[in-house]
């Protein structure tokens, strides 16, 4: 059955029915190609979202000031809320149990120039607590982040991002050098790199130094902390509690959701996780649909092939072909075509994804599209099996009909 002769006979038949073979091959290759591209696109989307979450702690809660929108105890709406050091200390004190890392941040105002020698750039200068490192995942690749001693002594230390280091120092070593921030000299103690592109446009200095050296008195711009051992619903309760505390300190309605903003990444992460499941389900739905379309296509063409070949089958039977040989011949032809075409679609699909990865830089929406090869291979095998079954049913019927009936078929 698997002799060279059989294969030669099959190759001869395929070679002499090029259009028919091509159409079968095309529907299979297209199905696999689409599946790979879809799976890849879904994965790319997922990778991008994942990457943007990796750039920050997923259990952080950020608190930003806002502007009141409701009248409260005779006070007019439209007042700006200004946070200060007391907000930070009381938040830490009142919610101590579950807080892991924390920071309050102050943004240096003014020209915000950072210079070294003749090079001068302008980026955000942020005064932060040591906890900022873990909250922002601003991991040092060289040196260290701000520590408690920097804070206690209000040292003039600065942590640059790798991007800014390159702009100022080119290929030179930056660690231990002095740079001027708004014309005040600071010593470079570390270089960090954030996964998120936009979060590299800033430098960090000790919070205490920022307030003192740049005349910010006790103002803060925002505060953040990470929580441990809390469920999403518990963090929601914590949000309500925080709102009440801030409202009483700053005299605004606790129900006024514009007076301050709370960004609970734990809650966001849960929502995005649900979105992940949604995307996965969607990709699978389309993928399975594509496979079914491929199977239907192959079955359809095999049905036509067998119908078209009824007369040929009759002739073959008249000159002595046993039914078994008719069935195996048609099935092997189907399997051969679907295998080659499936492989071709696989290679083409992976190629397109690779090309896309190479040409389009990763963004926040799309990153490293890649198909799960195991799934793609299973899909190809499934298509081949279905092609074989699709060929088998009509081939067996054709092999069963009397040769004289098959011969009469036109």
């Amino acid at each position: 059955m698997f002799s060279i002769d059989t294969w030669q006979e099959i190759f001869a038949t395929i070679g002499k029915n090029k259009l028919r073979s091509f159409l079968t091959a095309f529907s299979v290759a297209w199905g696999i190609f689409m599946l790979i591209v879809l799976l890849g696109a879904g994965q790319g989307l997922q990778n991008a979202v994942k990457a943007s979450f990796e750039s920050d702690a997923v259990n952080s809660i950020w608190i930003y000031p806002g502007r009141t929108s409701k009248e409260y105890k005779g006070l007019q709406p439209g007042r700006l809320t200004q946070f200060n050091n007391r907000d930070y200390s009381e938040t830490m004190f009142l919610n101590d149990n579950n807080i892991e890392y924390s920071t309050s941040n102050v943004y240096v105002r003014g020209s915000r120039t950072i210079s070294y020698g003749k090079e001068e750039v302008s980026y955000s200068i942020i005064g932060s607590y040591p906890g900022m490192r873990d909250i922002e995942q601003a991991n040092p690749i060289q040196g260290r982040f701000i520590n408690q001693i920097d804070m206690d002594e209000s040292r003039k230390s600065v942590v640059l991002s790798e991007k800014i280091r390159k702009e100022l120092f080119k290929n030179k070593e930056a660690l231990g050098e002095w740079v001027n921030l708004n014309k005040i000299p600071f010593k470079v103690i570390g270089i960090f790199e954030d996964v998120n592109e936009r979060e590299n446009d800033r430098v960090f200095i000790p919070f205490t130094t920022a307030q003192r050296s740049f005349g910010m008195s006790n103002q803060i711009n925002n505060l953040a902390f990470t929580v441990t051992g809390l469920s999403v619903s518990e963090t929601e309760k914590l949000e309500t509690k925080l709102r009440k505390q801030f409202a009483s300190r700053h005299s605004f309605d606790p129900e006024d959701d514009r007076a301050m903003y709370i960004n609970n990444s734990l809650k966001n992460f849960q929502q995005i996780s649900l979105l992940f499941i949604g995307i996965s389900a969607f990709v699978w739905l389309i993928g399975i649909g594509t496979i079914i379309a491929g199977i239907v296509g192959v079955s359809n063409i095999m049905l036509i092939v067998v119908k078209e070949r009824t007369k040929e089958i009759g002739i073959r039977k008249a000159i002595g072909a046993p039914p078994r040989s008719i069935i195996t011949h048609i099935m092997m032809e189907a399997v051969l075509i679907t295998t080659i075409a499936g492989y071709f679609g696989l290679v083409l699909g992976v190629g397109v994804l690779e090309l896309f990865s190479a040409l389009v830089p990763p963004s926040d929406f799309f990153r490293n599209p890649e198909a799960n090869i195991q799934i793609a291979l299973s899909a190809t095998v499934l298509l081949i099996i279905c092609g074989a079954i699709a060929g088998f049913v009509p081939a067996r019927r054709a092999a069963k009909i009397k040769p004289i009936v098959a011969l009469r078929d036109e």
Binding site: I319, G320, P322
Partner: protein, 231 residues
């Protein structure tokens, strides 16, 4: 040797049953050149198809070289067809995408003959029917007479004992018909049994024995001169 006794065959078409063969009996010995004659609907083609194991029969007995041909499985029938019979059809029935040589070699493929060997044998038979130079032509590139000669070569390639020809000249002009009949006569002279179904007297006149059918029964069966004398 073919022996048939009380052979019946009906076709069932919906509610109606069409009784085509109503008790056929004859014996054909090895090396005979026989024509089966009759007008259309007389059952002559059905009879030939049953003889060639392309169709089944309902009642009676059919022995080929002493073996019964009753209730054969499809694989067994295929084996016997390949071993004992060569077929020549009115519409040639060549496989359109195979060239002359490949068409002729195909029955040997089902016997498991190696590719090289069967191509060589096919070429011998092509030479025999005078088409050696046409080995690599597709059927669509050949005339009716040439196609029929390829079909005859294919029928002969397995060296069967019986050649069954169903209206072999039906699609050919009279000159080509004559050439094809000469070829069949020559094959008969080489010792093969040849059974030809035809409705043309000119064709049956070239055979040695005529079996005349009418409405599923044998009307006459005898030497050609005798039967034709009665017409």
């Amino acid at each position: 040797m073919i022996t048939i006794k009380d052979l019946h065959k009906s076709y069932i078409m919906g509610q109606n049953s069409l009784h085509v063969l109503k008790g056929i009996e004859f014996t054909i010995n090895d090396g005979e050149l026989v024509s089966i004659m009759g007008s259309s609907g007389s059952g002559k083609s059905t009879l030939l198809n049953i003889l060639g194991l392309l169709d089944s029969y309902d009642e009676g007995t059919f022995h080929l070289n002493g073996l019964t041909m009753e209730n054969l499985s499809e694989s067994k029938a295929a084996y016997y067809r390949n071993k004992y019979f060569g077929f020549v059809f009115q519409s040639f029935n060549l496989i359109s995408f195979k060239n002359a040589q490949e068409n002729i070699a195909l029955p040997l493929y089902y016997q498991g003959v190696s590719r090289k060997k069967r191509n060589q044998i096919a070429l011998e038979y092509l030479t025999k029917v005078g088409l050696r130079d046409w080995a690599h032509h597709l059927p669509s590139e050949m005339s009716g007479g040439q196609k029929q000669r390829v079909a005859i070569a294919r029928a002969l390639v397995t060296d069967p004992s019986v050649i069954l020809a169903d209206e072999p000249t039906g699609a050919l002009d009279s000159q080509t018909s004559l050439e094809v009949m000469e070829l069949l006569t020559q094959i008969n002279n080489e010792g093969k049994t040849v059974i030809i179904v035809t409705h043309e007297q000119e064709v049956s006149a070239l055979t040695n024995r005529i079996i005349r059918l009418r409405d599923g029964l044998i009307l006459e069966d005898g030497p050609t001169e005798k039967v034709l004398a009665n017409v």
